[in-house]
Structure formats: C-alpha cells, structure tokens
Symmetry: C2
Subunit: 197 residues, 2 copies
C-alpha cells in the first residue's frame, strides 16, 4: 500500500484546495494519507523561494485563480481578511490533535476555516472553536503553542520536508517522489495508479 | 466564437507542454487559437517574477516534473543542454513566420525542437532547419533578427502581455481572463465550456 505524505500549512490556499480532493484521491488509489503539518514560512526561508504575493501581478492573478478552482472543484473559497496570517499556533495545535487521534479532522477543519470560510486562524477564539468542532480540548490545543516538544516537532517536519526537496506548499511525497501543488494532483494520481499496476 | 491568445516563448518547458495539448483543446471547445510570441525574459524583468531555476530545489524538481508530464501527455521531453537558451532570435523568426502564414507551424516546430528534441534553438543552423521544415525561407527567418519592425513587434507583444497581467509563461488570455501555466489547461477548458453554454 502506497503512502501519501501531505505536508500542509493552512496559510496556503492551494493547500486547502488540495485538501478538499486528497481523501477521495487516496481512496481511489488505495493509498494511505498521512497529514504532516509544516511551516511554509520556514520552507521559504530555507530555500529562497518566495510567496506569490511578492510579485504584484501574481498576487492579483492568484485571487482570480482561486475562484476558478473553487468553481472547478465546487468547493467554497472565501479569501480571509488576515492574509497571510501567522499559522504557527494553528500548526502546533495540529500536532496536539495528531497526538489525540484527531489529526486529520483538525487539519481539514483548520484549512476549511481559513480558506473556505475566511476566518482568522491566528485568533485564539477561532482556534478554540476549530478544536472543539473536532472533539479536541481547546485548552490543550492552545497550550500547544508553549510546549517545547511540539515546537521541536513542527521544526523537524519543516526541516525534513526541505531536506527531501520541498520548496513550497502543498508538498506530497510518495517515497522520494515529490509532487508540488494542488495542480499536481492528477500527476500524483497517475503515479499511484502506475505504481499499483 | 471564443479566442485563446497563447503567449509563448520556446525557452519555457511548460509552454512546450501546453502547446502539445492546445490545438485539440481549442477544437474541442470550438475556440480559435492565436499564437503570440513574447519574450519571457522581458516579462520577468518587468514584473519582478523569477524563473524556477533561481531556487535550486525548484530547479531540480522541475526536471522530474517535466518527465511526469511527458508520461502523462505521452509526448517527448528532452532537456536541452543549452538551457536557458537565448530565444530572441527564434521569437523574431516566429513573427516572420506569422507574416508568411506559417506562424502556428513554426511555433509548434520551434518548441518541439527545443524541449521535445533538446536541440539548441539559439543556433542559426537549428533555426534554419526549423524554418525549412515549415516551408519558411531560412534566409528570411534569420534576417528577422535585424528587422526593426520585427524587434518592435516582439517588444509590443511582451509589453501588452505584462500590461494585461501576465507574469510568466505560458499565458493564455480569453478576453481579459488570464490563465497561467500548462497546469491551468483544464481550468481554461472549463471556462470555455461554460462560456459556450
């Protein structure tokens, strides 16, 4: 059985879009799906890559492009007012969710809150709400931000992704094969289908 | 009838990949396809966008990604030794090909020569060969490089694309809607299908 490692950061709209499609893709291909929170800002810093917004016309294009994808996938996209939000707190909470066995539910819920509903995931209230919605104790989710082991785990995920060749988000690994971007899901699917044949 | 304006530069591998799919897409959607040579280097200069190779891990990823697309589309990809090649001469020849009524054939042939076959499109011999292969006088094709009207036309195409919001290649316009990248062909198809409905 193949494994898709899904490196995600809720700040990235294309990561949200991919997350709306991935569970079905994994099921279709008989692959398991592992959610791995990582800090996109750290990836940019380590690789010299830059977010789309650093090029003005690319930033403008992105907003229209997201609406095209929203229609194409029939999923909501609501650009958040606070963009780019600091996602560190949310990512640390995601690692606590993982400990508690609700990693996937939390990952999906926090991405949907930010890019599906345009809520501010840097806010403690929103984080607590999202935690509650997946059965995670909000106190525990918020306390994640101060836990050294959790900070180290997020840093380790980020460094591992970079060491394996990632330079942006979403990044999908199947073994040592990297697929980058929501727009590579069909290549990922073709790769898994070939591997299974 | 909708028109797809296809801004292309043969230096871009994703532009070659898109070019292998576009004629069928246009036919499927009942759209006309207009080939518009532009200078990607000029676009980067004007917008502050940068080529993928400026991020080392992105450059490495791109080479594997191209092979995934090659398999996905079942078209050849042969990375040229001279990359990135100076494509100005080829683009100017493309404008002469347009004058002579073989613009599409030349565009397709020069992109295939570079990324399909890995030939050096900065070489006069290769340019002459490609011209000949589409029934264009090689002397005329090479002389394009010294013609002021042709130089100005290439510059005008590039400036127009930037003014309309382009920041990379391939860029497709349907009216004022921009689609950027080989990986947006399915969104372009969906857009044209909706427009026709």
């Amino acid at each position: 059985m193949a494994t898709i490692e899904f490196f995600w950061d809720p700040v990235s709209p294309y990561t949200y879009l991919a997350a709306t499609q991935l569970p079905k893709l994994a099921t279709d291909c008989g692959a398991s799906l592992v959610y791995r929170p990582f800090l996109l800002g750290g990836v940019f810093q380590a690789t010299g890559n830059r977010p789309p917004l650093t090029v003005a016309s690319k930033g403008r294009y992105m907003m229209g492009d997201l609406q095209h994808w929203s229609r194409f996938y029939a999923v909501p996209v609501t650009p958040p007012e606070n963009f780019p939000a600091n996602s560190v707190r949310a990512l640390r909470a995601a690692l606590v969710a993982e400990e508690q066995g609700v990693g996937e539910a939390f990952a999906q819920a926090i991405m949907r809150a930010y890019w599906g509903e345009g809520r501010d995931i840097a806010s403690e209230d929103v984080l607590a709400d999202v935690a509650r919605s997946v059965g995670l104790d909000p106190e525990q989710a918020l306390a994640a931000n101060g836990r050294d082991d959790i900070k180290a785990a997020l840093k380790a995920n980020t460094e591992e992704a970079v060491a394996r060749g990632a330079f942006g988000a979403p990044s999908f690994f199947v073994g040592d094969q990297l697929f980058w971007g929501n727009d590579r899901l069909e290549l990922l699917r073709a790769h898994l289908t070939r591997a299974a044949a």
